[in-house]
């Protein structure tokens, strides 16, 4: 009993935290109470995750929960994203009617779902974790319920998300029908006669649909830009990073043994159904995400499409499926979380400081003259997203691409590099807009442009910027790097 609870301690902390914040909210607690206690619970969960990262992999709750270094690593990224989101959100949402204790309760519940999701060892827990995460995110997406953008984002996310989780559940039922168990181990150990049945394959296919929806891979991506545009900006950053880390981590654990067992049964190497579907979806995501972002005029939509492209790069890790690719994917997840959260946080800050009504590209004109240092921060994250050395985004891309080349996926890598170049153009256009365009809108604002960042923004932005720079040169440093640590999971 105690070991069970200890194994799931991060999730327990965030769940209790969510309940406490909810009750505090019902009793009309002040913001000065709610935000620090949210941060306290999240820091506690982060500390526990770091502490558990050195432990060997073990199972708890009668084999349903798997704890250990890999799960703790993912939990640490997710909780870090939660901490940054809380810090940014409490500042940029000030004065909005939607700003209430429930926002933080929902963030905590979403993180609880994600933690359940990544530490699941059983399809039941996978489903419950996924839905806990999704339902909390539906609420957060529709937070601006008095604005049509907010309602539209929430409802679109809800309808499509529930539709996709219906497919996921149907896939689970097929897999259960074929194997007679919902345990990951039982699925991985299923005999070739079982894995070659139509039921098993259809089940895996349907589950992949749900998974691709969550990571917004093409052709299940259409909700992404709309939801990111309509949601509160800090929350969009949270959705685009933490939920994807959770989805990629959980499905890596679930799908790797299954896709390998499918491989072994057909004797066809990478020719199995799941892998070839992943191959094409990875290519499509990279191409469509990066090409479509050229035509966008809204900063949040640009980041939405770019996150589709990044999902494509991350899916390359599944396609290549070697230990190097695995390490590269995990490193890329860290880099992606840092830089994407940073970009969304800076946009949220500008939105608030300059009183933007929307986040369209024109609003950015001339901001570089008024607030050069803050635009430099935004440029840092944008350059990292574009993949410029020596930033984290560059090193992540380098690792993924070199793992793909080593495993012989040359076409895939060429497509990836070409689409990365297209994507880089879009990010550079944003930076150019801020620095080199004459701004008529920003300078005529009545708001005080000297109003800088509050303490929350300063902490969050400096953490993210330091991480983005550090993880770019991490491997060259004499001390043990993140890469060595990630390699230890294999």
């Amino acid at each position: 009993m105690t070991t069970d609870l200890l194994a799931f301690l991060p999730g327990l902390l965030t769940a209790i935290g969510g309940l406490v914040i909810m009750i505090l909210g019902a009793f009309r607690a002040k913001k000065q109470v709610v935000v620090p206690s949210t941060l306290l619970f999240l820091l506690g969960a982060f500390g526990v995750a770091i502490w558990q990262a050195s432990m060997p992999t073990s199972v708890a709750f009668s084999d349903m929960v798997r704890s250990g270094s890999f799960a703790s690593f993912l939990i640490a990224i997710i909780v870090f994203a939660g901490i940054v989101t809380t810090l940014v959100n409490q500042e940029v949402m000030q004065g909005r009617r939607a700003h209430s204790p429930e926002v933080y309760a929902m963030i905590l519940f979403a993180i609880t779902g994600m933690i359940t999701f990544v530490s699941s060892n059983h399809l039941l827990l996978l489903f419950v974790g996924l839905e806990t995460m999704s339902i909390a995110l539906y609420v957060l997406a529709g937070l601006y319920k008095n604005e049509r953008h907010g309602v539209e984002a929430g409802l679109k996310y809800f309808i499509l998300g529930a539709f996709a989780s219906g497919f996921l559940l149907y896939g689970m039922s097929f897999v259960y029908g074929a194997t007679g168990s919902l345990h990951f181990q039982a699925l991985a150990l299923a005999s070739p006669e079982v894995t070659q049945t139509l039921f098993f394959r259809a089940g895996i296919g349907l589950m992949l649909v749900g998974f691709f929806f969550k990571v917004s891979a093409v052709p299940f991506h259409m909700w992404t830009p709309d939801v990111y545009q309509g949601s509160p900006t800090a929350i969009s950053g949270f959705m685009s990073t933490a939920s994807k880390v959770a989805a990629f981590g959980a499905f890596w654990v679930l799908l790797t043994p299954i896709s390998f067992s499918v491989d072994a049964s057909t004797q066809a190497g990478s020719g199995s159904m799941a892998i070839s579907a992943l191959y094409w979806i990875s290519i499509l995501s990279m191409v469509v995400g990066n090409l479509t972002s050229i035509a966008q005029q809204d900063l949040k939509r640009i980041l939405g499409f770019s996150s589709i492209g990044h999902a494509g790069y991350l899916l390359m890790g599944f396609v290549v499926a070697t230990p190097q690719a695995f390490t590269a994917m995990l490193f890329y997840l860290v880099a992606y979380t840092l830089m994407n959260l940073g970009a969304f946080a800076m946009i949220a800050h500008f939105e608030r400081t300059f009183g933007w009504t929307d986040a369209s590209m024109d609003q950015l004109k001339g901001v570089g003259r008024i607030a050069p240092r803050r635009v430099a921060l935004l440029s840092l994250f944008m350059l990292s997203l574009a993949g410029f050395p020596p930033l984290a985004g560059f090193f992540g891309k380098y690792l993924v691409f070199s793992a793909a080349i080593e495993a012989g996926f040359v076409t895939l890598t060429v497509v990836a590099i070409l689409s990365a170049i297209v994507g880089a153009f879009v990010y550079l256009r944003v930076i150019g807009q801020a620095y080199f365009e004459q701004g008529e809108s920003a300078e005529s604002q009545s708001v005080d442009p000297q109003k800088g960042m509050g303490w929350g923004m300063v902490i969050a932005a400096s953490l993210l910027a330091a991480g983005t720079i550090h993880f770019g040169i991490d491997a060259l440093m004499p001390w043990p790097s993140l890469l060595d640590w990630v390699n230890g999971f294999m």
């Binding site: 529709g142 539209e152 409802l155 309808i159 539709f163 219906g166 689970m172 039922s173 259960y176």
Partner: protein, 100 residues
């Protein structure tokens, strides 16, 4: 004893009706009912498989799927009420503010 194929066929038919409903209907409430229909179709197949294999795991998943569907229903209804307050209708063709 009815063989398992009938149950699977029933669940497949219900799931397909639900999925087609989501794609062709325009009323948010009906859309939402179609999603519930899909989830419940899955429950039929889970219970059928569970009794076919003679183990309880499928039944457990059904219990959790039902409660998840209830939680989803609450959030969905709240969002639909918010949509109604904004546009005075529940037609999802009103959701065209953000598009390509």
């Amino acid at each position: 004893m009815i063989s398992i194929e009938w149950f699977i066929a029933l669940s497949a038919v219900l799931f397909t009706i639900g999925a087609i409903g989501v794609m062709v209907r325009r009323n948010a409430i009906v859309l939402f009912m179609c999603i519930e229909l899909m989830l419940n179709a899955v429950n039929i197949s889970l219970v059928a498989f569970s009794s076919y294999h003679g183990n309880i795991e499928g039944h457990m998943l059904v219990l959790f799927a039902l409660s998840v569907a209830a939680a989803e229903a609450v959030v969905g209804l709240a969002l639909i009420i918010a949509l109604f307050r904004n546009t005075l209708s529940v037609d999802i063709r009103n959701l065209t503010l953000m598009r390509f």
